[in-house]
Amino acid sequence: MSGGVDSATAAARAVDAGHEVTGVHLALSSNPQSYRTGARGCCTLEDARDARRAADVIGIPFYVWDLAERFRQDVVDDFVAEYAAGRTPNPCLRCNEKIKFEAVLDRALALGFDAVCTGHYARIDDDSGALRRAVDPGKDQSYVLAVLTKDQIAHALFPLGDTPKTSVRAEAAERGLLVADKPDSHDVCFIADGDTQGFLARQLGSAPGSIVDADGTVLGAHEGAFGFTVGQRKGLRLDRPAPDGNPRYVLSIEPVSNTVTVGPAAALSVTEITAIRPVWTGCPAPLSPVECSVQLRAHGEVYPGVAWTAGDELVIHLRAPARAVAAGQAAVLYDGDTVLGSATISVAR
């Protein structure tokens, strides 16, 4: 229970469904902020108190589990290392994989519980056990859960997947949950001020390097290649405009030479993707190309394509070009609204 409206309502629904429910709030920071600022952060003392009050109203036991150290190792350190390697990680996905459905689930199972229930917007198919999109397309979180294995999904409950967010808020208000109108969380929860570049610079220090075009012509300088994301347009501070006058975008980040390459929008088009560490939950690993829909970032567009496994890797061919695909993000394959599998993007061109 994060202290937000979704996990509180999910817990209440789990109780209604007849489960014996215990509320758990995760302390993920070893020195939490006292109060929430806007939509940022998810583990302030105020959030812990909100979660406790929701558990009181629902009438379930409530405990705080200290997972700050695991979170630092598995999510924060990984986030920094991924940026340092020129990739763009998704920490929410990593947190689901390593914290909520590994550290918490393992501890819960050992203590005698059967499952971890969260307020994520996703569904689990009654028959096949596969992960599916939520009915509310604006809130669907199947993308950030697609890293879960079959075994993890078998021990997960997502009671909100069949309900639009607005109805969840109304239901929370009806249930007397005081968090009913609390704002949604956005951004990276462990970067309280929302300044990812500043956070990375504090972790990684400054590493001045060059910004070049495709020919290698130096167009500007940067304070660390880790500060950029493929497709980024703002904040490049280039010395001179492109000859054709069109805006330039980050095309690639090369950590070894500490070089950021920029170019025109057209150069961001991607049709061929290679991804590593594939997980298959909606079908067996496809040895020959299968038709699917491909999502390449949270709340991102969906592209038609074909995918197949080659050794340990997943190969994806998109039928329509995608724009600005960043290594480190997950490629999630869907058949309709069912998640077939996912993998971490390593190469996109």
């Binding site: 302390a27 003392l45 812990a48 036991p61 405990y63 705080v64 589990w65 695991r70 501890r107 203590l111």
Partner: protein, 384 residues
């Protein structure tokens, strides 16, 4: 709360009158407060004029530690040392830390042995030593009995040593008051903290029993209702309920201590039978330990996992303290006794009191073994 204490408080809540008012209703309320004061004084071997009512143990500890420090330093600026132990309740511990940070106090932490006991020789050595020797000492504060591991401190001997050096002595007797004979005059201490809710009275009222020669600087300023040392309208209903609980607790104390100690001994036996490698922390059962206290380390367990499992079976126990967010923290008492962090984190306290029965002890005995097995499995999953 004892039913008699609830009845007294309920009756008094319906009465009108501020004990400080001069009219008839005020005089009636004042009479209730003063009769209660006399009863409480008698229970604790003090004079009525030595009982200063407070909002509870924490306020009484703050008044004693900060107030005596300020008063003693005002008389002689060399007096900046506060001698205490690292097994004190946070009300004393954090007052001393605050004095150090904000008032230039110099804390001196008296060593405790592996049972949590302070020795009189250690106090003598500390007072004889250090900058300005005993001349630099503002006060000594050592709890009468420890709330976590039940260690009963040699308060009489410690107070005598402090007085040899002319240094006043405060003791937090919150835990001891219900379970041990606590006599203010006979003990020789200069200031003593007690609180109602440990005696079967209400939460929110307590007292600092303060020798007439001791004049701490107030922490709360205002009407000066209590000897000009403590201000605030007196809570006549709570004070009356405090007195009823104190008197009844004193009447029943001896028989109750025998009954509770027997239950506690059986609890220790049953826990060690079910979990042979559990370790009983604190002094061995006997006069050196509070009769209602049992405190164990369960190797390989997280205390908060055990707490969750026992809570689900209707057994309420304690891991020590929790931080503001609610995360269980390793006991500072166990750490001070030399335990490592893993052992401190794997510890639980079981408190027995006037409502505890043999059936409660048997219920714990029946489920502690399985709970420890599960908690160990959970700790194993976390270790990866």
């Amino acid at each position: 709360m004892l039913p008699e204490s609830i009845a007294a408080m309920t009756e008094e809540l319906a009465q009108l009158g501020n004990p400080s008012s001069l009219h008839n209703a005020g005089r009636r309320a004042r009479r209730v407060v003063e009769e209660s004061r006399e009863q409480i004084a008698e229970v604790f071997g003090a004079r009525a004029s030595e009982v200063i009512f407070t909002s509870g143990g924490t306020e009484a500890d703050n008044l004693a530690v900060k107030g005596m420090f300020w008063a003693r330093r005002a008389d002689d600026p060399r007096r900046v040392r506060v001698l205490t132990t690292s097994v004190e309740h946070h009300a004393v511990l954090d007052s001393v830390h605050w004095l150090a940070a904000a008032e230039g106090a110099s804390p001196q932490w008296l060593p405790v042995d592996d049972c949590g006991l302070v020795h009189a020789d250690a106090l003598r050595a500390a007072l004889a030593d250090g900058a300005h020797g005993a001349d630099g000492a503002a006060l000594v504060s050592v709890m009468w009995a420890n709330n976590e591991v039940g260690a009963v401190q040699p308060v009489v001997a410690l107070a005598a040593v402090a007085h040899e050096f002319g240094v006043p002595f405060h003791t937090d007797a919150v835990q001891a008051a219900a379970q041990l004979p606590v006599d203010f005059a006979a003990s020789g201490v200069d200031a003593m903290t007690v609180t109602a809710h440990k005696l079967g009275g209400p939460v929110g009222v307590g007292a600092l029993i303060l020798g007439r020669a001791v004049a701490p600087v107030p922490v709360l300023h205002g009407g000066g209702q209590e000897r000009d040392v403590r201000s605030g309208t007196l809570d006549a209903p709570a004070i009356r309920a405090f007195a009823v609980a104190a008197v009844m607790s004193a009447q029943r104390r001896e028989a109750e201590a025998v009954r509770v100690a027997a239950l506690r001994d059986d609890l220790v036996r049953q826990v060690l039978l079910a979990v042979p490698d559990a370790v009983l922390n604190g002094p061995p059962p006997g006069p050196g330990r509070l009769p209602g206290n049992a405190h164990f380390s369960f190797p390989g367990c997280e205390g908060d996992a055990l707490l969750l499992l026992l809570d689900a079976r209707g057994i309420a126990c304690s891991t020590g303290s929790a931080c503001t967010a609610g995360v269980a923290e390793p006991s500072h008492v166990l750490l001070a006794m030399g335990a490592d962090e893993a052992r401190a984190r794997g510890s639980l306290r079981f408190s027995l009191g006037h409502t505890t029965t043999q059936a409660d002890v048997d219920a714990l005995g029946a489920c502690i073994g399985e709970a420890v097995t599960r908690a160990r499995r959970a700790a194993g999953s976390a270790a990866r």
